[in-house]
Symmetry: C2
Amino acid sequence: MEDDEAEPRPDRRRFLSGSLGVLGGAGALAANGPAARAAEPGADLAGANLPPNVPAWMTRQGAPILSPPYGVPSPFEAGVVRRRRSRSPTATAASSSTPLQDLHGIITPNGLHFERHHAGVPAIDPAQHRLMVHGLVERPLIFGMEELMRFPSVSRLHFIECSGNSAWAQAPSSATVQDLHGLISCCEWTGVLVSTVLAEVGAKPAAWMLAEGADAAGLTRSVPIAKAMDDAILAYAQNGERLRPEQGYPLRLVLPGFEGNMSVKWLRKLGDQPFQTREETAKYTDLMPDGLARQFTFVMEAKSVITFPSGGQVLGAKGFYEISGLAWSGRGRVVRVEVSTDGGANWRDAALQEPVLSKCLTRFRLPWRWDGSPARLQSRATDETGYEQPDRQALVDARGLNSGYHYNGVQEWRIAADGAVTNAV
Amino acid sequence: MEDDEAEPRPDRRRFLSGSLGVLGGAGALAANGPAARAAEPGADLAGANLPPNVPAWMTRQGAPILSPPYGVPSPFEAGVVRRRRSRSPTATAASSSTPLQDLHGIITPNGLHFERHHAGVPAIDPAQHRLMVHGLVERPLIFGMEELMRFPSVSRLHFIECSGNSAWAQAPSSATVQDLHGLISCCEWTGVLVSTVLAEVGAKPAAWMLAEGADAAGLTRSVPIAKAMDDAILAYAQNGERLRPEQGYPLRLVLPGFEGNMSVKWLRKLGDQPFQTREETAKYTDLMPDGLARQFTFVMEAKSVITFPSGGQVLGAKGFYEISGLAWSGRGRVVRVEVSTDGGANWRDAALQEPVLSKCLTRFRLPWRWDGSPARLQSRATDETGYEQPDRQALVDARGLNSGYHYNGVQEWRIAADGAVTNAV
């Protein structure tokens, strides 16, 4: 515990002191007229001409309702979008990342859910889409969407994270949290438990299930039946509405806590043959230093990342800031997030926003008073199994640098004396 | 408890029997070719040609990532939009409703959050927006958005409901749940607790706070300080991203559980003078049978509504259906939802989706086997204070029919022998 980082008391003006530098500057106020211009934002207004002038948008009727009927963000938020990851030669076998630095709470709006496609986004007519269940059952069955939607359903908040999220390779200091960790998103998924369907159709005992997508890649993954019967969902809705096309419309398998590619999108088949598919042999295996590969590394282990302040942002004047970020574990609930502002020498417990849900993002927050000197911000998560997020060196020592998947080392952001925040991993 | 409504066991094929009639028809399968055409959806496929033909969308690359960077729903969901309520003569003093019949779970996607504006949606530049706090403090203060966003924050899931939601007047039998009850939505709101700001600025003791919006209506409401200090939020984000323009971008007061108009959008002022505004005298008061009006009826009391099956929908063949709906209370958590399928003669407890949160929508579900005869579906909610949603007659007996606000009577949907679902209130 650092003395100078003790939690600020609710004493008056503690949060405000030194905050003026963050603002764009008094010039932004000029449009509101002399009275407002005379008053510094956040400053006392004793003697100023009150109330401030009426802003222009109060002098005329605003836009009518239903403009448009399905709403869109403010034009001032046009920069808050998914961005393409640069690695792939085509735009159909590619990925785009969620702007974590611009998000709050734990929900990812559907329009900002990260993408990872192997052959682009198929345009599927839901009336023609079918799910076939075969091998696991005595006689194969085909379901239409309306039939599936008649089954008893569940709604659960879960993250989905690409196994390739976060970087084994060292990234440039200019990297943002979206660049480094944006292949994770979190939604409320609604659908039918796989266990409900398999019980209904009289599934035969089997150790594995095969899930196949209706994209041009026919992406196919083997899933342990134990997982399928535990908490797997045949999802048809996210955050209230039907799935987005790029998230598997009209039907997606959701395997809570497992690597994202196994939550097969545009799901068309559940079967028991074959397995050892391309996506679990040539891809999505983890090459170890001894030349052997780890296979079937399903679970996304505990991880956390500070989203504010994070790479590319600039702090203003010294003073109060709330450090905020996201933590998660594919094994269950996050029970603890610790934050360091001195590169890992000292740690403090962050507050976890309730409710803390299993296999779901958890927002953490810690009050901090920046004294204006260089700082090194880190966070580490512990989940309900007792597993603690490792630092980079421990992870590299154990697994080497040959793998492109399952990196969950501690992220460090450096803050320079001028407030610039950069990646330090 | 009715014998014929006993909860279906997970016996094989119980959910499937009689379900074929729901589907659009075998014709929808024709595009997939003869093999698929030979197999009835949901039916056994013994002897059929397996696997079914490859659908057209698997034969070519799909759409690239970032089409578009901020994603949109499938074209097949184009009908899932907000719809204008017909009462108002202008489109700026008007409302539009959320399509509850098409939604799942508890989250309302931001693009479908209901609207109620008194003078349209102002186009506010967040860099120029200011919140002034005066009267409550020794010296008036003005905050810019970046300053407010530096305060310690919270993220909480809450519904917002217009006090004019649901109908005292009898509605046509063709009314949908969107028509009748669509002025409610539910999001994860992130912002600064009012109590945090008032403590920070050294607020003076006061009984009331005045909140004013920066729209052309300058919509203004008085708020008890006890509520402000309890759980009121100065919200700048909804469902992860910054507020939508029609929800108050860049800043909205959120008063969990209170009537929606008090969650003042485009918030520009918090003060202590004056109150008794137009919105709490000429409007938003409840005229009782004796000619007196109830004033300051803030809390939205417990309510529930079945969203499936609901008005305008058509059931297919008899057999298994999951009845599903939403329940909420402005006083806290919903603890019980009962469902009747015989017009209130018999009731069964529905399952509540966890987590059940305070002043938040709760999804309820009940398995039901429709025997093909006319049915009358009702739901009623009980909250943690013990308050039970009244039936229409009890509500009318107590409050008469002169008020346009705070109707929370039990909704009944009638199901005809041909499966047509109509409004019965």
